[in-house]
Symmetry: C2
Subunit: 593 residues, 2 copies
């Protein structure tokens, strides 16, 4: 007999004998009958116990409470027309029980297992096994499963090999902070958990495997935010001999497949490709959410000689002035609203937020008087300013203008309900700078990582003007989130050496940390490149959720702890002795634990 | 144009224009022509450069050496009949090159990239990226890919969900030694890397997911042997509501699928099921290699009153006497051979190895005189002893008899070439004891793990006679290797508590370490069970290899080090400070690093 599950019963199963195993969602007693909503992975069905046909099962059912685990034997019957529940897939039928075994009992859970939970996240994490019984959690992890399967099936068909790289690796100071693992055998030495399989996947290209993928666990010991976890999962892809365009096209085909299989949506390819500079200029973000307008417009040229010194001064000192036109909404924003927005942009270093409203064809507001007729006309043209519009300006150095208006744009988009949540806007951001200059440390950092190919492999430019060199890199953005990023990698030893030099490594340091890579580059390294995606974030977006923790079965809290198992925890002194370690706690001498 | 790869070219591609990218396997210059064997992931093809049609490419080819990375443009042409190479898939054709680009150069590698490598494993691991270019390594990792895909496809079709459990977990003293990860945020506390996802997969059953799988990395900080690695990969499966038989049947169907898809072999199911006691008695092993005979025969009953005191004494003091009949081989074993085997069994604690040869219908050998006519007849019958047979005996306590003869049996099987290497003999070993008694520590250990269901869930027996309780456990054995093991798990709190008590946990200790599990058992835990397989070992057996390291891309040496990256390595004092740790080295005071 086919195994029928609770949520799968339909009219077509009428009169079938079934054995169901599941949890009690709810029990109701009504006129001598007992109704139990029985839940398993597939959903809910109503089970009825009645004095005529249920026999002993009715007595047993009297002892049943929420979350008990039951085995029910019964027959699928039609519900009375007036009790049909059209909100439930199984709502046309119920199971008339004639057998009941209590497989396990349950205490009253600390919170109800229901669809929308109002419970604190702390409690949900402490009783994660109960939280995961909720329908929306069950569905999220089914979707996560479908997503990984869809990705795997695509890559398998494309002849990629699923390959496992090590988790106990070597610590490298470049990048984020490593999680360390003390070695017992090698006194005073440590492994590091991988931040990504970057170097190993490059070594696999040097090994001639040509097409690699892995759904890999990665680790970063950083301070956590809502969208960060100490361990996260990455869809990691590397190929030999493919061009940047070929890798991007492959990625697009993969996303198209995932969107089709997981969401039933046909998405358009190729995705829009936007240079980094354009993204910053138009959206104030390197991961623009293109589901709505409110674009930033650079008006520096139009106000560079303005009598309004805040504007002209910003331009003359090398900065810029940009504006957002909030079309038709001037009446929706009070003085108080604008003050609030001013506070918001100050977080990003802006000294203030200038504004104008268009009323009776005129600019209106405290700074209107500073602009000449010509300037006013130019601004109206540039900003397409029309009656009822609200114009918001920031004048400052370029990074402050872009960051503050970029953030303001997102807030406005949400406040004005401009975002179509059903839309999935994929976008490539390309032409990244290869380096970021760290003013504090007075040195360059790799904008992506130190193995990224400089544009055109131009070693001369790399030596001469590192700050002007672009990277052969591409980020994939979905609805304002960075979904992943990739690049062509350096496959020539001289370029890799030059790269380390620009990053401030001495030759000795470079050899100490990356000697094996430099050596490997000597033995016939193919041109190669790849991409990596955050799987947790992709699932979050596909599931329409906003909390990354809801896409991870057993996530950590913001302090990197697990309230369920109480990890991390203390360990025995004997364990530490074996690892040649002792604790050095703030309040202690460090000589003892 | 379809992308054609080196190893895929055939007569059907004659006259096609191709662009190949790959590595130089070999270059030969012959009569003004240059021949290059070009290698990519798909295999090898011969490329020819000649003065007539190759143009500049011929000059470029003169600079080419082994392991250079090339892009070759050319036309597929037929080889002269006398130069056809039938050992090569592409041996009917060659590529007449008219274009050549050197994509990257290569120094002379430290060893040849060839099929059978005689190079030391240390050198192979240091230059792993070169070692992995060898054909047999490429094929092993393709087979590994196929194996995981086959397993995944099967489990996906069976509606299992692929789910990721945490890697940063809590340390538990039960089981093998944990790898620890110090916490930066929680002073003096540590995560542990998982030895298996055991508790998390049980929690997922408590979460109602019903069918879980994961191909999971696991970690054990144990001293390494040839078939152990600090990190290894486990195919991890858990189900709710299934019986032991249903789980075993599911596993058999999975293995049938893998054998069919990966090896093209139809294997018979159900697999033989053998109780643990029978396996020990007949094969002297809990993971019998059933590809050959040489079974152990217990002759205690027949010799318990024998005049040979070594035999009768062993029986009367509670031990046993068992024998192996090496049929028809008595002439193949000299006195010296037998002395050597005697040394071999002594390793397992046996005091000696008794022997008899059957010659002219009589027992022959130093102990023959001790046996009465009746005893001789009984032994001949029990051991099916015939002319020319060699009989080998060990008399001792049961564990010594089984261990020593079990090991001897394996040695004899190999020496006498009795093992059919093309055979895949799967076998279930069932009816395991739940506990092992540790005489040194004077306490019970869990034979599998502390979450294994006692047979029949019998809590009374558990309290009264723990040593007699069998486990609801099953190991799967392939050709003498333990491939995996599983069990039904405890789903009732009282039994789990009793289990911890038998294992010597105080109630406080049980709550401290497993409180979350005990609490979870209160809230409606379904009956559940599962199985876990060593993927590395499965791949090793499928690939016909004997070294586990050959199935892992970047394995560790016997001292848990990676000779390529030099992991583990020292870290900065600043990193240790952040982790509230200091080193405590053998030769130092521990106050400094």
């Amino acid at each position: 007999m086919e195994r029928l599950n609770c949520g799968t019963l339909r009219r077509e199963h009428l009169d079938q004998e079934v054995t169901l195993k599941g949890w009690v969602q709810k029990r109701r007693d009504l006129g001598g009958l007992i109704f139990i909503d029985l839940r398993d992975r597939s959903g809910l069905v109503q089970v009825v116990f009645n004095p005529e046909t249920s026999g002993e099962a009715l007595q047993t059912a009297e002892n049943v409470r929420s979350e008990y685990v039951l085995e029910v034997k019964g027959v699928v019957v039609a519900r009375d027309p007036q009790t049909v529940n059209s909100n439930l897939g199984t709502g046309d039928v119920e199971v008339a029980a004639h057998g009941l075994t209590i497989l396990n009992k349950a205490k009253t859970p600390p919170f109800m297992i229901e669809e929308q939970s109002e419970v604190s996240e702390d409690l949900r994490l402490k009783y994660r096994y109960l939280d995961l019984r909720r329908k929306e959690m069950q569905e999220t992890f089914k979707l996560r499963h479908q997503t990984t399967q869809s990705i795997r099936n695509f890559l398998n068909e494309e002849e990629f090999l699923d390959m496992e790289t090590p988790m106990l690796t070597k610590s490298t100071p470049e990048g984020a902070r490593d999680y360390l693992v003390p070695s017992r055998v090698h006194e005073g030495e440590f492994y590091a958990l991988p931040q990504s399989p970057q170097l190993f996947k490059q070594l696999l290209m040097m090994s001639g495997f040509e097409k690699y993928y892995q759904i890999a666990r990665c680790f970063r010991d950083e301070d956590l935010r809502a969208d960060r976890q100490p361990e996260f999962t990455q869809v990691d892809i590397e190929t030999s001999f493919l061009s940047k365009d070929e890798i991007m096209t492959l990625t697009e085909r993969m996303m198209k497949r995932v969107m089709k299989e997981v969401k039933g949506l046909e998405i358009e390819t190729p995705f829009l490709r936007m240079p980094y500079e354009e993204a910053m200029e138009r959206f104030g973000s390197d991961k623009p959410d293109t589901r709505f307008g409110l674009e930033l417009v650079n008006i520096s040229e139009d106000v560079k000689d303005s009598g309004f010194k805040v504007f002209s001064g910003a331009v003359s000192s090398g900065g810029q002035v940009s504006a957002i036109n909030v079309q038709g909404k001037s009446d929706d924003f009070s003085r108080k609203d604008i003050d609030k927005m001013t506070e918001d942009v100050k977080v990003y270093g802006a000294k203030g937020l200038a504004w104008l409203k268009v009323k009776d064809g005129e600019f209106n507001g405290p700074i209107a008087k500073f602009f000449s007729e010509e300037e006013t006309a130019a601004l109206k043209g540039k900003l397409s300013a029309e009656e009822g519009d609200l114009l918001l300006f920031v004048a400052d150095k370029t990074s402050v203008v872009q960051d503050s208006l970029g953030a303001l744009r997102l807030k406005l988009g949400r406040r004005l309900n401009l975002i179509d949540e059903s839309q999935f806007n994929f976008l490539w951001v390309t032409d990244w700078p290869l380096f970021e200059y760290d003013e504090e440390e007075g040195r360059y950092h790799a904008a992506h990582h130190p193995f990224t190919m400089p544009e055109g492999g131009d070693i001369k430019q790399l030596k001469r003007n590192p700050e002007d060199v672009h990277a052969e890199a591409y980020d994939i953005v979905l609805n304002g989130y960075e979904l992943g990023g990739g690049s062509l990698r350096i496959h020539q030893k001289e370029i890799q050496q030059e790269m380390f030099e620009v990053l401030g490594f001495s030759q000795e340091e470079a050899n100490e940390q990356f000697g094996f890579l430099l050596e490997a580059l000597d033995y016939g390294t193919p041109p190669h490149g790849g991409i990596a995606f955050g799987l947790d974030r992709l699932v979050m977006l596909l599931a329409g959720r906003t909390n990354l923790r809801d896409t991870i079965l057993f996530p950590k809290t913001a302090s990197a702890a697990d309230p369920m198992t109480n990890a991390p925890g203390p360990v025995d002194k004997a364990q530490l002795d074996e690892l040649h370690l002792q604790l050095k706690l703030a309040e202690q001498s460090g000589s003892d634990i």
